[in-house]
């Protein structure tokens, strides 16, 4: 087993373990901390795939900005075990059934797909920032520009909803 492989298995194990703890932990703050751990292990996987940009963005955006927001909300709302809404057994049962079916479908489809030319990365440098920039500003220029409308709309909306009415 090479170093890369053993690293991969280690990171994968930690990722699965901590994401299970996200769901199983009773305390919401622990849940969030395990979620951060999951994001870090995923970043490790991205870097193993030579996709540094995605790895860094994952840290900055998810582990940095969004998780801090999560923690703030949980602390401000003072959520704990008591305030958690209790679900009926029927809902839990339905959830388990549908989730289980989803799991079977996804594992089945992933197992059935053989690693053909389309799926395997042809160019090992594909995830580097230089290549990503070329693709983003050449092939995907239009989505890159149109996204600005989305952000502008969201910004106008955020200010609109947050501003105090003068009346």
């Amino acid at each position: 087993m090479t170093v890369t492989q053993s690293l991969f298995y280690f990171l994968a194990f930690v990722a699965i373990f901590s994401s299970l703890l996200v769901v199983l932990a009773k305390n919401p703050i622990h849940s969030v901390l395990y979620l951060i751990l999951t994001f870090f292990t995923l970043t490790g996987e991205y870097i193993l795939l030579n996709a540094q940009f995605v790895g860094i963005v994952n840290i900055i955006v998810y582990a940095g900005a969004i998780m801090v927001l999560f923690l703030f909300v949980i602390m401000l709302l003072n959520l704990n075990v008591q305030t958690e809404p209790q679900k009926t057994n029927l809902i839990k049962f339905i959830g388990i059934i549908t989730g289980g079916i989803g799991l079977v479908v996804l594992t089945g489809s992933l197992k059935a797909s053989d690693p053909s030319n389309l799926v395997v990365i042809q160019n090992v440098d594909m995830g580097l920032v230089k290549n990503l920039g070329k693709v983003l500003f050449k092939d995907f220029l239009l989505p890159f520009e149109i996204v600005s409308i989305l952000f502008l709309s969201a910004m106008v909306g955020a200010v609109l909803l947050a501003r105090k009415e003068t009346k």
Binding site: V105, L106, G108, S109, L110, A112, S113, S116, L118, V119, D139, F140, L141, L142, P143, I146, V147, I149, L150, L152, S153, A154, V156, G157, V159, L160, L161, R163, E165, T166, K167
Partner: protein
């Protein structure tokens, strides 16, 4: 593409006009920009231009639906008069967000690349989350915005998952390339298709993903509801059909049973629940679910006639919805309620409003001599051509239930007595929109050939 640019620039200009407090110019500038966008679209007819490595392709399908979206927006804007000013003084921002939403809608109907589909859906949805919650002091409006936002973002996650799986199976985001490589990784591809199906049916509000619709439609300000039930729904269905018709049609349609079940559930839930509603706005929300069921039939049985059937249905449904929501806005402002009882005696106090409402509801119900009849006629025609007689039987039965609850409003307007005898005064552009909608509905009901052979 030019139309998207024109609308985006108009939106920014409107935002600046609001900054400099030029209240009177907001509506004229918006409508002028929209008319310019319409003109640029008409110029591109039959030219089939693709932009930026086939990100967007403006074929006749895209242009026809874009024109419909813009026209509906113009009608709603003309009705807005002083509606938004009663909510708050930030009128310019409301117009801006609605214009941005429209660019999202046009992106959705003209996409050729999955990334554009995703961005289009996001622009439209994010704008709508905001517009649903603009009544900040109204709890039901807040609830509508939050519910729409939480459920909508979840659906967006599922959509992205589906796009990722399809990319994994075919190695491309381009619709024609996907269609060419669809059979290389069938299982991954089918899983992706089902995920995208779930997300798209959520966005158009078909059962069993319809739970957000009644609350959001009722909680949002009525004019925003009319925008949601026309522009958002039309764009959603146009994108749905474009996606399934071009990218997923090359493989055997494994989704047939799933969509058929969805159509039946949607028709049953939408129509039967609507029959029990006492609030007219909520009733129209459930009826919009049932209309999604009828339109899904055209997607279930993909064929040559599907685009035309969806277009005719969307035109009839949009025009009738604008008119009926317009009447609801007027009644609500005058009587303070949009319950069924508020419509009592409207036929005597406001004959014109009552007539507009009657024509609009007849069109929604599919009564002959209105545009809605031909909408249903062409949808059922698609199903008959594919030998789905049992589905037609259910759909016709549910259309009959639909006529029952639409006529409840008409009976209240003409056969019940009202408490107050005052008539409702409307400004000029409001009257123009209502009369225009009635004329178009009747015109298309008599001469449907005007739009039946466009695509």
């Amino acid at each position: 593409m030019t139309s998207i640019i024109i609308i985006a620039i108009t939106a920014i200009v409107v935002l600046y006009l609001g900054l400099y407090k030029v209240k009177g110019a907001l509506l004229p500038v918006s409508v002028l920009g929209l008319l310019g966008a319409e003109a640029s679209l008409v110029c591109g007819w039959d030219k089939n231009i693709s932009y930026f490595n086939e990100m967007l392709v403006f074929n006749n399908y895209a242009i026809a639906f874009s024109i419909l979206l813009i026209a509906t927006t113009i009608l709603i804007f003309l009705m807005s008069g002083n509606y938004f000013e009663k909510i708050s003084s930030n009128v310019a921002e409301y117009y801006t967000i609605l214009l941005f939403a429209l660019t999202g809608g046009i992106t959705m109907v003209s996409f050729q690349n999955m990334t554009m589909l995703f961005i289009g859906i996001e622009i439209l949805s994010v704008s709508m989350y905001i517009m649903a919650g603009i009544k900040k002091n109204d709890t039901s409006s807040n609830e509508a915005a939050l519910k729409y936002f939480l459920m909508g973002s979840f659906a967006t996650g599922i959509l992205l998952f589906g796009i990722a799986l399809i990319y994994g199976a075919t190695g491309s985001f381009n619709l024609t390339e996907i269609a060419g490589k669809a059979s290389e990784q069938p299982f991954l591809f089918y899983t992706g298709v089902i995920f995208m199906l779930i997300a798209m049916t959520f966005k158009v509000g078909a059962a069993p993903f319809h739970f957000w619709t009644p609350d959001v439609y009722q909680g949002a300000p009525t004019l925003v509801t009319s925008y949601m039930s026309t522009v958002v729904k039309t764009a959603g269905f146009a994108a749905f059909l474009r996606l399934f018709g071009s990218a997923f049609s090359s493989v055997p349609p494994i989704w047939t049973v799933t969509i058929a079940a969805m159509v039946v559930i949607t028709l049953l839930i939408g129509n039967i629940t609507a029959a029990f509603q006492q609030n007219v706005k909520r009733m129209l929300a459930y009826s919009s679910i049932s209309h999604a069921g009828y339109m899904l039939i055209a997607i279930l049985l993909l064929g040559q006639a599907s685009p035309n059937a969806i277009l005719i249905y969307s035109v009839a449904y949009s025009i009738a919805s604008v008119a009926s929501f317009g009447v609801i806005v007027a009644v609500k402002e005058h009587k303070g309620s949009d319950d069924l009882s508020a419509f009592n005696g409207l036929g005597r106090t406001n004959p014109v409003l009552a007539f507009v409402m009657t024509v609009a509801l007849c069109s929604l119900g599919g009564i002959p001599l209105t545009a809605g009849f031909f909408g249903k006629f062409y949808i059922f025609g698609v199903a008959i051509a594919a030998n789905y007689t049992w589905l037609i039987a259910i759909a016709v039965l549910m259309a009959a239930v639909g006529i029952y609850y639409y006529f409840k409003v008409i009976i209240a307007m003409y056969l019940r007595d009202s408490e107050s005898g005052e008539s409702i005064q409307l400004n000029g552009s409001y009257q123009f929109v209502l009369i225009f909608c009635v004329l178009v509905t009747i015109l298309l009901g008599i001469a449907p050939s005007l739009i039946t052979n466009i695509l």
